[in-house]
């Protein structure tokens, strides 16, 4: 009997060690600096609130880490959209003035490979800027660095929270250099094909309610 207990204990410890090793794996590295941060092209920089309570509307299946906002918003509980969240938010320009409205749809991707350090989300943005026009942003995002460096430490912490400064690019494709594909729809942007990168800065995270203090940024390089 004691050998069975020892074997089971070993199995559990082994599985736990694997999980810890996965998050501490030094061979999984971030992509580093975004190619758009060194571009000569003219860029549109937009910032937005990523904390659900600071958005206009945020909804998901109602059982995920981040709570929907407002509380009584229709939830996405149906099987085909259960792994999807939707957010509508105000987007601000580089001078922190309201520049327009942005809607983001995010769905967990089947191309997620945690062994390779890829927690992939397929997402699209619709952004309408009255002064410029509308655009559609298509991207795959990798949340593994955020999970590894923010969410996992928050989960390990006795206070179930994390405080600090984490900045990183979320966009991982579909562009070869890890950029998003941006299509202009109307106004000055009509017909333009552009590239973009979405990044996030997190200052506080709770293992119980998700992002507490964070900002997002979209950088769109004009052709």
């Amino acid at each position: 009997m004691k050998y069975v207990v020892a074997l089971i204990s070993g199995l559990l410890v082994g599985a736990a060690l694997f999980v810890v090793g996965l998050f501490l794996n030094p061979f999984i590295v971030d992509r580093g600096v975004s190619p758009l941060s060194v571009t000569d092209a003219q860029v549109i920089t937009l910032s937005y609130a990523t904390v659900p309570a600071e958005s206009i509307v945020y909804t998901n299946d109602g059982e995920s880490l981040q709570p929907p906002h407002p509380e009584k918003v229709l939830q996405l509980w149906e099987p085909s959209i259960r792994m999807t969240s939707a957010m509508a938010t105000v987007v601000r320009d580089a001078r922190n003035q309201v520049a327009g409205i942005g809607v983001k749809f995010m769905s967990n991707s089947e191309s997620t490979r945690l062994l390779r350090g890829e927690a992939i989300v397929d997402s699209v943005w619709y952004v309408y800027l009255p002064e410029h026009g509308s655009m559609f942003i298509e991207q795959t995002e990798n949340y593994f660095p955020l999970i590894r460096e923010v969410a996992f430490p928050a989960w390990r912490s006795s206070a179930n929270s994390w405080r600090g400064q984490w900045s990183g690019n979320l966009t991982a494709g579909p562009g070869a250099l890890g950029t998003a594909k941006v299509s202009g729809g109307s106004g000055k942007l009509e017909g333009l094909s552009m590239e973009g990168v979405e990044s996030m800065t997190v200052k506080a995270f709770s293992a119980e309610t998700g992002l507490v203090s964070a900002d997002g940024r979209l950088i769109i390089a004009l052709p």
Binding site: L7, K72, A119
Partner: protein, 207 residues
């Protein structure tokens, strides 16, 4: 006495070895499970696509009003949808109306989410749709402003992601009033018919 001590030590060693074998097995099992079992498995609804007589494929979606409305964002609304919605009062957004919906296929099953934006700014009007079907991809459509004869509005597919990345085509929107007398019936539905056409590519030179 000596024998029993040796026996005890031998038993402890075997126990320790069993534990370490368990650790190795645990590592291998966790790695194997993570490799073999998909971390994400999206639920899929079979697409209901018909072949159009003049080429391309057609797919019809609809939105039951009011039950599929997630958000109606517009200035100075009497009733907030959802309750508690605080739409920004900034002047630059004065002419913007953005609505979020769940979208359904012809079997009346929810298959995705969508946003419709209608805006007026300095004499230029836009009506845009983005349809997001999680297991398939997304569509971005620019609609014409004036409706066509028959009460529908036509739009052009400007861009798409994943499954829809290779398509161009059109989409129509129209409002269909519900004629059912059922108490739970919707007041009507927004019907969206997408026509997908493969993008034209240059013919390869034949030697």
């Amino acid at each position: 006495m000596r024998d029993s001590t040796r026996e005890l030590r031998c038993g402890e060693t075997v126990l320790l070895k069993t534990f370490f074998v368990g650790v190795v097995l645990g590592l291998v099992a966790a790695g194997g499970a993570l490799y073999a079992i998909p971390a994400v498995d999206q639920a899929r609804e079979a697409s209901i696509v018909t072949v159009s007589p003049n080429g391309g494929n057609a797919e019809i979606f609809h939105i039951n009003i009011p039950m599929d409305r997630v958000m109606v964002g517009a200035p100075e609304q009497n009733v907030a949808i959802p309750p508690g919605l605080a739409w920004p009062s900034d002047e630059i957004l004065a002419g913007v109306r953005a609505e979020l919906f769940k979208i359904r296929n012809t079997r009346d099953t929810v298959v995705g989410v969508a946003v419709r934006t209608a805006a007026q700014h300095e004499g230029s009007d836009i009506i845009d749709w983005v349809l997001h079907l999680p297991a398939r991809g997304s569509l971005f459509v620019n609609m014409e402003i004036p409706p066509r004869e028959g009460g529908y509005r036509l739009g052009e597919i400007r861009s798409g992601s994943r499954e829809f990345g290779e398509f161009s085509g059109f989409m129509t929107e129209r409002w269909v009033v519900n004629k059912s007398a059922d108490e739970d019936a919707p007041t009507g539905r927004i019907e969206l018919q997408a026509s997908y056409i493969g993008k034209l590519e240059p013919l390869e030179s034949v030697e």
